[in-house]
Amino acid sequence: MKAVILKEIKHILRDPLSLTVILAMPVVYLFLFLYSITFDIRGVSLGVADYQMSSASRKFIETLTAQGYFDLKGYYPDERSLLRDVSSGKVKLGLVIPRDFDENLSRGRLSYAGWFEGVEGNSTNIARGYLFSASAGYVLRQAVSSGQHVPANIKPRYLYNPQLRSSWFLAPGFSAIILTLIATVLTALSLVREREEGKIEVLRTMPVNPYGFVVAKTIPYVVIGLLDFFITIGLVALLYRVPVKGGIASLTGFTLLFLVPSLGLGLVISSLAKSQREAWLLALATTLLPSIILSGFVFPVESMPFWLRALAEAMPARHYLVILRGVMIKGTSARELWPQALVLALYGIALVAIAGRRMRGWLRGE
C-alpha cells in the first residue's frame, strides 16, 4: 500500500508540466470564468431621440445613467437616425421619448419606446430588467413628489447575497466543476496507463490485493483534488469576498463525500477505456459538460423542462453545488443538508460498487 502510494507520487512529481497544469489550471480558469461570465452588466450603451426635450425627460434619462447601468452615447435628432445606430450595434438600447411625455407623466403614466439591438438574449434580458426597474422607480418618485397617493412600494431585500453579486453564486459552482474534472480525469488516466503498458500482467503475479492497489493509487489524487479545491475556494473568498459561513470543516467533509463518486466514476471509466485518449474523452463527456450545463452552475435548474430537470437532479455535481452554496453563502448547517449528502453517498456507493465489479475482471485477468 505504502509502496504504491509512493510510486504514484513519484509519477506525478516526475512530470512537472502536468503538475503545473493541475495546480495552475484552477487559478487561471477561475479568473477566466469569473471575469467573463458575469451577469452584472454595466454601461449598456444608450442612444436617445427626445421629442419632448423637457426637464422631466432629461431627468428620466439621468435616472437611467446615474447608477452606471446605462452609458449615454448621445442624443439623436430623430427616430430614424437612432434606429440606424441600434441596427448597426453602435448603441444597444435606443429610447424614443414622445412629444406627449410630460402630459402622460402628469397623469401618472410613463411613456417611451425602447429599441434593443437584441442579439444576445441574455444581456438584453438583463438590460431590460434594469430599464424597467429604473422606470418604476422614476414613476414612484414622481408620484411621491407630486403628493399623489402611492398604493404600494415594493422593495425586495436579498437575505443571503445582499448585493446579488453573481460571483457569489458562480464561484462555488466553479470549484465543484474543477474538482469533478480533476478527480475523474486523473484517476481514470493513471489506471488506464497502468493497463495500457501491460503492467497489470505483472501486478497480478505479485502479492497485491487488487482493491488495495486501486485505493492506494487514488489517494494521491484525493489529495490533489482537495488541494485544488482549497486553492479555488481560498481565492474566491479572498478576491470576491465570498463568505464561508458554514465553516471550513463542514465544507471539507462534504467535499470528501463528493470526491467518492467522482473517483468512482474515474475508475469506471478506466475499466471501459482502452486507451488514455478514450479515457480523456469519456471523462470530459461525463463530467465537464453535465456539471456546467446541468448542475445549476449557470443555468437555473428550476427553469428547465421536466425531463431535463430530472436529468439534472441525477447529477452528483448538482447536489454538491446546492451543498456548496448552502454552506458558503447561507451558512446552512450540515444537518439540514442531509438529503443532498445522502444522494452523494448513494452515488459514491453505487459507483464504487460498479467499479469494483468491472475491475475484478481485468485485475484478475478473466
Binding site: A3, V202, R204, T205, N209, E366
Partner: protein, 294 residues
C-alpha cells in the same frame, strides 16, 4: 519436496482447451524450459502456475502452497518476469526497485544484493526509459527477485535481445540457480533450450515430451534423421523439398529426414545428383521439436 508442481492442469476457454492435463515437477535449483510454438499453451500454463488464471481442473503448487487456494501466500514465494519487462519508464532504476521490493515486502539488504548481483549500481539514478534493452532486462530480473523467491517464472525473457546480452542474462539466471531458485522459462530460441536442465515440449496444450536436452535428442536417434553431401546442393534441396522430404542445408551438409532412405537415394541418382557420405545423424532439438509438433 518439489518447489514447483503442475498436477494435471487443464484450462478451457469455452470449447477450446488451451492447456490439457499438463503435469511436471521442477526440483530445487533446476531450470526447466517450456518449449512450444505460439498458441501451444505455454503462456496459459504460466498464468495457471502464477494464479492469474484458475484451472478448470488440476493443481499448481509453488513452494508447498496451492496457488488457487492461497494465491497471495504463493505469490510471496514466486517471482515473475515477462518479455514486456513491466517497468515504469518515467521512474529511475532505484525507484522501480523500491516499488517492487516494497510490494513484496523485501528487506533493504536483499534489495542491495539484487542491485549488486545484476550490476545495476552505476545506473541507479537513470530513468528506465533511457536504459539500454539489456539493462532493462536485468532490472526486470532484479525486480522479480528482491524477495528471494523459491520459484522464478521467466516468460520469453530474452525476446528481442541481442545474443551477447542473452548470454549475460543466462549467467544471471545460473547465479540464481546456484542459490537454489527453481526456474521455469519459456523460449523460442533452441540454443537457449540447450542451457536448461530439462525441457518440456508443449504442443496443442499437451506436454508431448520431457527430458534433459541430451536425452531428448538421443531418444529420437534412429527415427530417420540423415545427413549427406550432395552435388549440386541447390538442385538436391529443391528436389527433396518438392518430393515432400524435410531437408535443409547446414554448412556443406544436407540434413534430411525420411523413413525410407533407399528410395530417396535412388530418386536422387535418377535426377543426376551425386551423393556422398550418406549417414545417420543425431537429431537436434529443433528436429525433435519439429518432428513432435508436425
Amino acid at each position: 519436496m518439489f518447489p514447483l508442481v503442475a498436477e494435471n492442469l487443464t484450462k478451457r476457454f469455452g470449447r477450446f482447451t488451451a492447456v490439457d492435463g499438463v503435469s511436471f515437477r521442477v526440483s530445487e535449483g533446476e531450470i526447466y524450459a517450456l518449449l512450444g510454438p505460439n498458441g501451444a499453451g505455454k503462456s496459459t500454463t504460466i498464468r495457471l502456475l502464477t494464479g492469474v488464471l484458475k484451472p478448470n481442473s488440476g493443481r499448481a503448487i509453488v513452494a508447498g502452497v496451492d496457488v488457487a487456494q492461497e494465491p497471495y501466500k504463493a505469490r510471496e514465494r514466486m517471482g515473475y518476469m515477462s518479455q514486456l519487462f513491466s517497468l515504469y519508464g518515467d521512474l529511475s532504476v532505484e525507484e522501480n526497485l523500491r516499488f517492487f521490493s516494497g510490494v513484496y515486502g523485501s528487506d533493504r539488504a536483499a534489495t542491495e544484493e539484487a542491485i549488486k548481483r545484476m550490476g545495476l549500481g552505476p545506473y541507479l539514478k537513470t530513468l528506465v526509459k533511457d536504459l539500454p534493452l539489456g539493462f532493462k532486462q536485468r532490472l526486470a530480473l532484479a525486480a522479480a527477485t528482491t524477495h528471494n523467491p523459491k520459484v522464478l517464472f521467466l516468460d520469453e525473457p530474452t525476446a528481442g535481445v541481442d545474443p551477447e546480452a542473452r548470454g549475460e542474462f543466462w549467467d544471471l539466471v545460473y547465479s540464481l540457480k546456484e542459490k537454489g531458485t527453481s526456474v521455469l522459462i519459456t523460449t523460442h530460441y533452441m540454443e537457449e533450450a540447450h542451457l536448461a536442465d530439462r525441457i518440456g515440449m508443449i504442443s496443442a496444450g499437451r506436454l508431448v515430451a520431457e527430458g534433459k536436452p541430451s536425452e531428448l535428442m538421443r531418444a529420437y536417434r534412429g527415427a530417420g534423421f540423415w545427413k549427406m553431401r550432395a552435388e549440386p546442393i541447390n538442385k538436391a534441396l529443391s528436389f527433396l523439398n518438392g518430393m515432400g522430404v524435410p531437408a535443409y542445408a547446414s554448412g556443406s551438409w544436407v540434413f534430411l529426414e525420411g523413413k525410407d532412405p533407399q528410395a530417396i537415394l535412388s530418386a536422387l541418382s535418377e535426377k543426376g545428383i551425386n551423393v556422398a557420405e550418406f549417414s545417420e545423424r543425431t537429431p537436434s532439438l529443433e528436429d525433435v521439436f519439429v518432428g513432435l509438433t508436425r
